[in-house]
Each structure stands twice: as structure tokens, then as C-alpha cells.
């Protein structure tokens, strides 16, 4: 393929190579790389669900019906277009956004974009397909109910966030009940009220010509109107009393444990990078303190890590530690984990740890951008946050510039062992009652 700008591998800089333009009703970001034939794409628009009113489920069901037929083609015709060229196209519900992502050989991009636009803009919402999609969502929920990890995460989310927050997960049993009450008209209404070109952004990366992608996107998405739904989500955390929720699940050999609390800052807060690095030192990877102590030295778990979860520029999120423990190691494992966290907050990170994690984070950042898929995802996420394209190159610099004082101050300010909530799911040797508060 020929293009005005050839792919450059000498410099890792991304921003100068990304073309950022308005196309039709949205924003298009394209990056050409040296991969052969392949283009990965990822796009999203804001839907503004009312989580407290159960819109997360309406949105999920609506999205699941998008590939089940449009006003112009039935579900098999749509599938044939994609499958005949081996392309993938996924539509998903992700909190405040609906996302679409996929991969195609470059010559097939026009037909894939045409299918994507048709699914988003003109779904048929056939009643028979609705019935099947509802059964499918019910089956997914039932499978989720079997997983200790999902049950523990759901339980913790309910201790940290109010029902109107995007990070709150209702109990699967409750969602199943809601699901039975939904009709195809609910889905049509949700699509009408919440689907549109609001903040519509598409990132495409790979063996592409910038102008060719722009004309395909223009052809398929021009005329897509925005919706009028206002942002109604609750951006703040709940203030629950510290305590533990236990989800008893019979017949499980392993207990999933989540420890965590809400974090009052958003992704664009000045302290975020310092807290991000601080958490990384605690539990970001295999060489971090939690893994090094609780798994490597004490042999108590196969997997333990801590992370900042669901922190956005639009709402607060949480700090969480996840650990899996066999029956007989639950109490010892939780105690050991808590000890590591307490010691970390009391004493702070060391200069050596900070130096090591700075190179880890900046190195893994560049390693993580080695595929077109990951590049498209990073470019889109950066745009969703409202950050300038230059931040894609500026992030490593931001990390390198952090001082030990800044990181330790962030740990002290935002990590509080006394505020940790607990959620456990699995089979305990002796039953533990679920507790609401303590």
C-alpha cells in the first residue's frame, strides 16, 4: 500500500503519526503501522444510562440484539458478510459507553464498517430474536453465578458504590428477575433514547491509508444523530460501614477474596499517577510486594494482586486487592495480605522499589503497544478520557518524573487499611453468615 506517510519504527512516538480528524458526526483517529494486511478498530459513544433504574441491563440486552438483524438484512446475512472475510466485529456494553471493536483484512474494512454502522443505527429488534437474546443473557448470568470470582467482585462493588454508580453490580439473582420483566419495546425505547453519535470516536490502526479509512467512515456514519439523554449517573462512592460480605457457594474448592475501598480521586487528578505507581509497587505484578510475600515467600495463594479499578475522568473508582485461597488458608491468607498492606502504608515504598517500577511501567507500556489491537484500544481510551493525543507519548515521562515523596504521600492519602471492605465467595470449612455491616 502506498501512503503519504510511511510507517516509522525508529521512534516510539505515536502522537505525530496519528491523524486526528472529524469525520461525519464523530472523531476519527488513525495510525498506520508496519503490520501486513490487518486493521484493528475500536470505537465508542456515550449512552448515559440510569444505573439506579436498571439501565445497565437494558443496555446489555439492546447491544446483544444489534447483530440479530437490521432493517435491511437478517442475522444470517449480516454474519455471512463478516464470516466470508474472516473479520471479527464485537459490540459490547461498557458502563457509560457502548463500544464496538474488531479486526479485518484492510481490503474488507469498508464492508465491515458498513455492517457495524447498520447494526448500530438500524437494528430490527425482532420479537423472536428478543426472546432468544433474553434467554442468552439469562444463561450468561447463570454461568456468572457459578463463578466465585464474579460473586466476590459483585459483593465488593455493593459495599463500595451506590446503585446509581457505574461500578455498582446488582446481584445476579436480582438481574435475572429484572430480565424477565423486560419487553422488546423496552429495548426499542432504550435504543431510541440512548443510542446516537454522542462523543462518537473511532480509532483504527494497522496497514491502512488514513484518507481511505476516513472516506469509509464518512460514508457509513454521516447523518447519525446524537441522542438527548442527559448524564444521570452517580459519580461518587457510597459511605458504608466497614465490614465483610460472604457469598456462600457450595461445592467450591477455592475461595475468592476481594479487599478494597473507594478512592476519592478521578483519572485526571494530579495525584493519580503517583497513586497508580504506589499501588503498582504494592501489588501490580509478580515482583510486587503482595505476590512476593503472600505467594512467593508464604506459598498461601496462586494469585494475588492489587489494582485501581473503574477509575474514570467521569466518576471515582476503587482500590482493590484480589486473592484466591484454598479452604484451609482463608484466615491466614487474609491476615497475611492485610499485614503487607498495613506495613506498606506505614513505611511507604523505597527508592529502589520506585526506580524498579518506573522502568517496569514504562517498559511494559511500550511492550503493550506492540499489536494493532492494543494500540487502537489505548488511543480510544485516551480519547474517552478527554486527554490530548500527545498524552500517549507523555505518560511514560509523567511516570519517570515522579518522586518518592509524591508516591508515598499518595499512598498515605489514598490507601487506608482501616477503610478496607471485604467480600468472600466460595465454600468455607464452617459456614459464615453474610453480614451487612460488620
Amino acid at each position: 500500500m502506498s501512503d503519504s506517510s510511511s510507517p516509522s519504527n525508529a521512534s516510539p512516538s505515536l502522537a505525530p503519526r496519528i491523524q486526528d480528524r472529524t469525520v461525519g458526526p464523530g472523531r476519527l483517529l488513525t495510525l498506520r503501522t508496519s503490520v501486513d494486511d490487518v486493521v484493528s478498530f475500536r470505537g465508542s459513544f456515550v449512552t448515559h444510562p440510569d444505573f439506579a433504574a436498571g439501565d445497565a441491563l437494558r443496555q446489555q440486552l439492546t447491544v446483544s440484539l444489534l447483530d440479530k438483524g437490521t432493517e435491511h438484512r437478517d442475522r444470517f446475512e449480516l454474519a455471512r458478510v463478516l464470516e466470508a472475510c474472516g473479520a471479527t466485529l464485537d459490540l459490547s456494553s461498557d458502563g457509560l459507553f457502548v463500544e464496538m471493536s474488531g479486526r479485518a483484512l484492510v481490503d474488507d474494512l469498508p464492508r465491515v464498517m458498513a455492517v457495524a454502522a447498520e447494526m448500530l443505527r438500524a437494528p430490527a429488534f425482532d420479537p423472536e430474536e428478543f426472546r432468544k437474546a433474553r434467554a442468552q443473557v439469562a444463561a450468561d448470568l447463570q454461568r456468572r453465578m457459578e463463578k466465585t470470582s464474579a460473586q466476590a467482585s459483585t459483593a465488593l462493588s455493593q459495599r463500595l458504590f451506590p446503585e446509581g454508580h457505574p461500578n455498582y453490580s446488582p446481584a445476579p439473582e436480582t438481574v435475572l428477575e429484572w430480565l424477565q420483566g423486560l419487553t422488546v419495546q423496552d429495548v426499542r425505547d432504550y435504543h431510541e433514547a440512548h443510542f446516537g453519535s454522542n462523543e462518537w470516536t473511532l480509532a483504527a490502526v494497522g496497514d491502512l491509508r488514513h484518507d481511505a479509512v476516513a472516506s469509509v467512515v464518512s460514508e457509513t456514519f454521516t447523518g447519525w444523530a446524537p441522542h438527548d439523554a442527559p448524564a444521570v449517573h452517580d459519580p461518587n462512592a457510597a459511605s458504608a460501614e466497614v465490614g465483610r460480605t460472604t457469598v456462600p457457594m457450595p461445592d467450591k474448592s477455592n475461595v475468592d477474596v476481594r479487599l478494597g475501598h473507594a478512592v476519592p480521586i478521578r483519572r485526571d487528578h494530579d495525584d493519580y499517577p503517583a497513586f497508580y505507581v504506589g499501588n503498582y509497587i504494592l501489588g501490580g505484578n509478580f515482583a510486587a510486594r503482595l505476590m512476593s510475600t503472600v505467594r512467593d515467600e508464604m506459598g498461601l495463594t496462586y494469585s494475588i494482586r492489587s489494582s485501581l479499578s473503574g477509575v474514570s475522568t467521569r466518576h471515582v473508582g476503587s482500590w482493590q486487592t484480589s486473592v484466591t485461597l484454598s479452604h484451609d488458608a482463608v484466615d491466614e491468607g487474609i491476615a497475611a495480605t492485610t499485614d503487607v498492606i498495613r506495613e506498606f502504608v506505614a513505611e511507604g515504598a523505597t527508592a529502589e522499589e520506585l526506580d524498579a517500577k518506573k522502568t517496569t511501567i514504562t517498559g511494559s507500556y511500550s511492550v503493550g503497544l506492540a499489536t494493532t489491537e492494543r494500540l487502537a484500544q489505548s488511543i480510544l481510551t485516551n480519547a474517552e478520557r478527554g486527554f490530548d493525543v500527545s498524552y500517549l507519548d507523555g505518560f511514560p515521562e509523567e511516570i519517570r518524573a515522579l518522586t518518592l515523596d509524591e508516591v508515598n504521600a499518595a499512598i498515605r492519602d489514598y490507601l487506608d487499611p482501616e477503610a478496607i471492605q471485604e467480600a468472600l465467595a466460595g465454600t468455607r470449612p464452617s459456614p459464615v453468615e453474610a453480614t451487612a455491616g460488620a
Partner: protein, 437 residues
């Protein structure tokens, strides 16, 4: 698509012999110890993947030592004299501190250790892999710590009824061949295996002439080969013949059934049909058949089962292994559906292929999907390394480079023939997951 470079690259280090090339991948061998080296230089981001594949998997384990391959994989991260936590140079810490994505995996036919990292740090990855090829400490205290970690890993797997179902079906399908036991091992073996037992296993299989080093990404060929020769060249080759698995699975002469009962919500069915070794041409045909049966909404099982509300998901997987494996159809039952109805629907669908064959359109669609998948799998060094790893495990790395040519040979008649040959009721093991809640 495939070609052989007629002349070897010039200025090779003395200890490096060029062997052959195929579709951009160059194969070398160290003359000092027989280590095979595969190089695939790529344009792209300045990162590279280094991977050592040892030609040992759980198929090589004997009774009482099941899980040894996997446990040894864990112990390989505990360190050597030079790279050890007590010196502040643990393998994970050393590699992750330069941004490497590092891990390992164990499977039936192989064990692999990999690092994806900025190219400037590739020599570090090579140094560590060379050092632990013969220098792993396998310390008794480390073995005890890791034993509980692995028991927890096993417990995690046991939480998942589908994981249990897979173990039960493979256990019933193979009565003699060591694909019978799960890669993680039986619990009693994990509990009892000794440091000496692991050391013996290590000394049996971890040698350069039983390994392949693959390097994929943006790197300089000459410099990298010199680094490889420097780090690996002095390691001695195995002082013994590497033991081979000689057991053959006896012919199966009737259907077998297993049932897993566990607390849960939705049932599942797994049907495993005895399939040929990965290198046989019929295995390519079974790949195509798996696509036709269960890939996408145009596939036969989607239309027959999921679209009609019998299943919530259905998959077709051709496990390509070094020795005969299982062609598998897996289905999650939809709520309120029973196992027999779903099994009958799967059998009917297979029977239709056996009796009436497939259409040219189905064959073309399956091939297009596989071709696109191959292009996608070249997107980034880690993906390529993963594919190469499985080809190496199957017995020939060129299975990866020649795959497209092999697919071109597949005809609609072939698909009908393999369905008749392999997907018979005498060769099947059927597993049911029955939720007890």
C-alpha cells in the same frame, strides 16, 4: 508462500549453523550442543519476544509423578545461583523491572518460558534462560512453598465445573496414553512429589538438544545470533538419550460416558472424538470441519442448537497434539434444556455432514476465516511466538509456516470423509456436567 533460502545468511557466529528457512522464519542450530534457534525478524515496535520451548509435557510423566512438568515450571522461577531473590535478582523482578511481560506455560506436549520486552533488553532474557536451562536450584524449601501454591491453583480449576468436565472426558477417553491425566497432576501426586524427583525430571529433560529457542520481533539478526551463541553455546548437550513416550492408546471400540455433578446453574455437554496426530493432513481437514460446525452464526451447530434455543454457546475445537488427541464439541445448555436433546442435535448435525457432505461455500468461508486468523496471528511478536510454540509441540515448527498451503489442499470431499472416519459413535467419549443446585 513457503520458500527455502538457498544460501545461508553471511557472517554467522562460529557456533551457529544455518539449517533452513520457511516463510520468513530462519532455523539455526548451535553446533556445540544442538540447541535449535528460530528467528523471525519483524518490522514494528522496538520489542521482541524470546521463548524457550522444552520438548517435555505432561505426556512424559509417569504414574506417581503426574504434575511434575508443571511443578518444575514453577520452580524454574525460583532461581539459580545468579538470579535469586536472596540476592535481589529474582527472575521475575529482574525481567519485570525492564518492562518484560514474562511467564511460562505447561501443556500436554511441551513447556515454554517467554519474555516479551523492549529489544534493548533481549540479551538479559537470553542470559536468564540460558542460566536456568541447567542452573535451576530446585531448593527443597522452595518446593514446599510452591506445592501449596500449586494446590491452590488446582483448587481454582476445580471450582469450575467445565474444567472438571474436561479432565473427566480426557481421563475416560485415554486409558493407556498419558494424555489420560490432567497437566496439573493428580492431587495426591502434587502433595507427595519430592525435590529429588523434580531434580531427576529436570536432569532428564532440560537440555539444549531437547529445546528450541524462538526469537520474534524487531532485532538485528547478526547481533542476536552472537548473543545466543555467547549465552547458550557453552551449555553441554544431554549425556543421555531423551526418553520417548512409546505407549500407544488402544483402539476405542465403543462410546464412553462420564458425568460431573457439581453445584451450579447450567448444564454442559462435551463430546470428544479420537482424532489423528497434528502433523497428519487429516488434522487440517478437521480444523476446517470445526469451523464449519461451530464458528460463527453461519455455522451448522449455531443454527441447529443456539439459534433454536437448545444451547447458549457451542464450540468446536480440534486439539492438535503430537499424538492422537480429541476433536471436541462443547455446548453450554440453554436454561430448561436437557442433555439428551442437545447430544441428539449434535449427533444429527454431524450425521448430516457424514451423509450429505458440505457445500463449497462453507469450505470457502472456513478457509477465509482461517486465512484471516493467520494474518491476525502475525500482529505482534507474542502472537507469532505462541503459534510457533504449538507447532513445535506438535513436532514440526513448519506446521506454522506451511499451514496456508496445507489448507489449500483441503476439499469438500475430504471434510465429508474425515467426518465419517473420526466422528463416529465408536470413537466418542461424552461428558455431561449436571448442576446439582
Amino acid at each position: 508462500m513457503t520458500e527455502t533460502i538457498p544460501a545461508p545468511p553471511r557472517d554467522l557466529p562460529a557456533a551457529v549453523d544455518f539449517q533452513e528457512a520457511s516463510d520468513g522464519i530462519e532455523c539455526y542450530r548451535l553446533s556445540t550442543n544442538g540447541l535449535r534457534v528460530l528467528l523471525l525478524p519483524q518490522d514494528g515496535a522496538p520489542v521482541a519476544t524470546s521463548m524457550v520451548t522444552y520438548h517435555v509435557g505432561s505426556r512424559n510423566e509417569r504414574t506417581g509423578h503426574t504434575g511434575a512438568t508443571h511443578m518444575l515450571e514453577h520452580l524454574m522461577f525460583k532461581g539459580t545461583e545468579r538470579y535469586h531473590k536472596r540476592k535481589g535478582t529474582s527472575i521475575f523482578e529482574t525481567l519485570q523491572s525492564v518492562g518484560a511481560k514474562v511467564n511460562a506455560s505447561t501443556w500436554l506436549d511441551r513447556t515454554n518460558y517467554y519474555e516479551m520486552l523492549p529489544t534493548e533488553h533481549l540479551p538479559l532474557a537470553l542470559d536468564i534462560e540460558a542460566d536456568r536451562m541447567r542452573g535451576a536450584l530446585i531448593d527443597a524449601e522452595d518446593v514446599e512453598d510452591e506445592r501449596t501454591v500449586i494446590l491452590n491453583e488446582r483448587d481454582r480449576n476445580q471450582n469450575d465445573p467445565v474444567s472438571r468436565l474436561l479432565d473427566e472426558v480426557w481421563g475416560a477417553a485415554f486409558v493407556a496414553y498419558p494424555y489420560h491425566h490432567p497437566t496439573i497432576g493428580w492431587k495426591s501426586d502434587i502433595e507427595r512429589i519430592t525435590p529429588d524427583g523434580l531434580r531427576e525430571y529436570y536432569d532428564t529433560f532440560y537440555w539444549p538438544d531437547n529445546a528450541t529457542l524462538s526469537i520474534v520481533g524487531q532485532f538485528d539478526r547478526g547481533e542476536t545470533l552472537a548473543e545466543v551463541a555467547q549465552h547458550f553455546g557453552d551449555i553441554g548437550s544431554a549425556p543421555h538419550e531423551i526418553p520417548q513416550v512409546t505407549t500407544e492408546e488402544p483402539e476405542q471400540s465403543g462410546p464412553r460416558r462420564v458425568t460431573v455433578r457439581q453445584d451450579g446453574q447450567l448444564g454442559a455437554v462435551l463430546m470428544g472424538f479420537k482424532s489423528p496426530p497434528a502433523l497428519e493432513a487429516d488434522s487440517d481437514v478437521l480444523d476446517v470441519l470445526a469451523r464449519i460446525l461451530a464458528s460463527g452464526k453461519s455455522s451448522r451447530l449455531f443454527r441447529r442448537c443456539t439459534d433454536r434455543g437448545l444451547t447458549s454457546d457451542v464450540f468446536g475445537i480440534n486439539f492438535r497434539l503430537r499424538d492422537p488427541g480429541l476433536f471436541s464439541v462443547f455446548a453450554y445448555l440453554a436454561p430448561d434444556q436437557d442433555h439428551q436433546t442437545v447430544e441428539d442435535a449434535i449427533h444429527e448435525t454431524i450425521q448430516d455432514v457424514q451423509e450429505n457432505g458440505i457445500t463449497q461455500e462453507e469450505l470457502d468461508r472456513a478457509r477465509s476465516q482461517l486465512r484471516a486468523q493467520i494474518a491476525f496471528d502475525r500482529d505482534g511478536p507474542m502472537r507469532v511466538a505462541s503459534q510457533l510454540n504449538e507447532a513445535l509441540a506438535a513436532g514440526d515448527w513448519k506446521l506454522y509456516t506451511q499451514y496456508l498451503d496445507r489448507l489449500d489442499e483441503v476439499t469438500a470431499e475430504d471434510v465429508q470423509r474425515v467426518a465419517r472416519t473420526y466422528l463416529t459413535r465408536d470413537r466418542v467419549t461424552i461428558g455431561r456436567y449436571v448442576p446439582t443446585s
